[in-house]
Amino acid sequence: MNSFRGVLLRGLAAGGVAGVLAGLVGLVVVEAPIRAALAVEQARGQVGDGHEHGELVSRGTQVVGGVLAAVVVGVALGALFATAHAGARRWLPRRSPFARSVALSAALFGAAALMPAVKYPANPPGVGDGSTVEYRTVLYLGLIAAGLLVVHGAGVLAARLAHLAEPVRFTAVALAVVAAAVVLLVVFPAGPDQIPADVPAGLLWEFRLASLAETATLWLGLGLAFGLLVDPATRRTRLTSA
């Protein structure tokens, strides 16, 4: 009997692996611009922001926490990913579990990381306005939710168009996804914050690219690791009993 339990455990393991990899990318690539941004913030003299960094938690601990955040989120996303992978029967039903896993993770990266990175790009410490954080969070989560709906819709559309030849179906679904993404990016309101003048454009760009590298590592690492663990072709498992 193939159990969901086995699949879930593989999801947790794959999420852990992806989280560690993403955490390392964070440590090596994202920490440098964060440090530079904290220096900019400190140079301001911090008047009454009420958000002194390193007061409750030391700087070194925050670096550890940054890696740990990626690991914990990776494991949690691994559980969600395993559930989605098992539940999404319409998602490329004829492909191998590995191909389904990688494709699903790429789609989720697009919806949950790339789209928000385009519309509401990541900002280093010292950029966000504390008074708008709730509005920004609503926009950010709203865009992710809408993006996930597009991913779901792509699966439904592909199933509906099953009678078409594959190249035609693929093109139709890809066009629909691009159109939906463009509509979302245009319709969602712009983020409310101005970038403070003392934050160099180069630093902002470096941080955003580094952040994208971390989320890409997290999502694609998750898809690859889960696909490797779950595909009977790479590992003899009881999943093949049909």
Partner: protein
């Protein structure tokens, strides 16, 4: 439509949804919690995971 054993995706048991909810809650605490669920302890959680929140692109102060 839910034939019992699709070779690639076993049927989802009920508890799978509980696990998924728990996973969402964990993600929330690490990336979003600002006092709604944990009150004052949230500040420590926020500061501890602060680098991670920024690095993963989550809106923050």
């Amino acid at each position: 439509m839910t034939s019992p054993s699709h070779p690639l995706s076993p049927a989802l048991p009920r508890w799978a949804y509980a696990v998924a909810l728990l996973a969402l809650a964990v993600t929330w605490v690490v990336l979003q919690e600002n006092g709604l669920a944990l009150g004052h302890a949230a500040e420590v959680v926020h500061e501890f995971f602060h680098d991670g929140r920024h690095a993963l692109g989550v809106p923050c102060h």
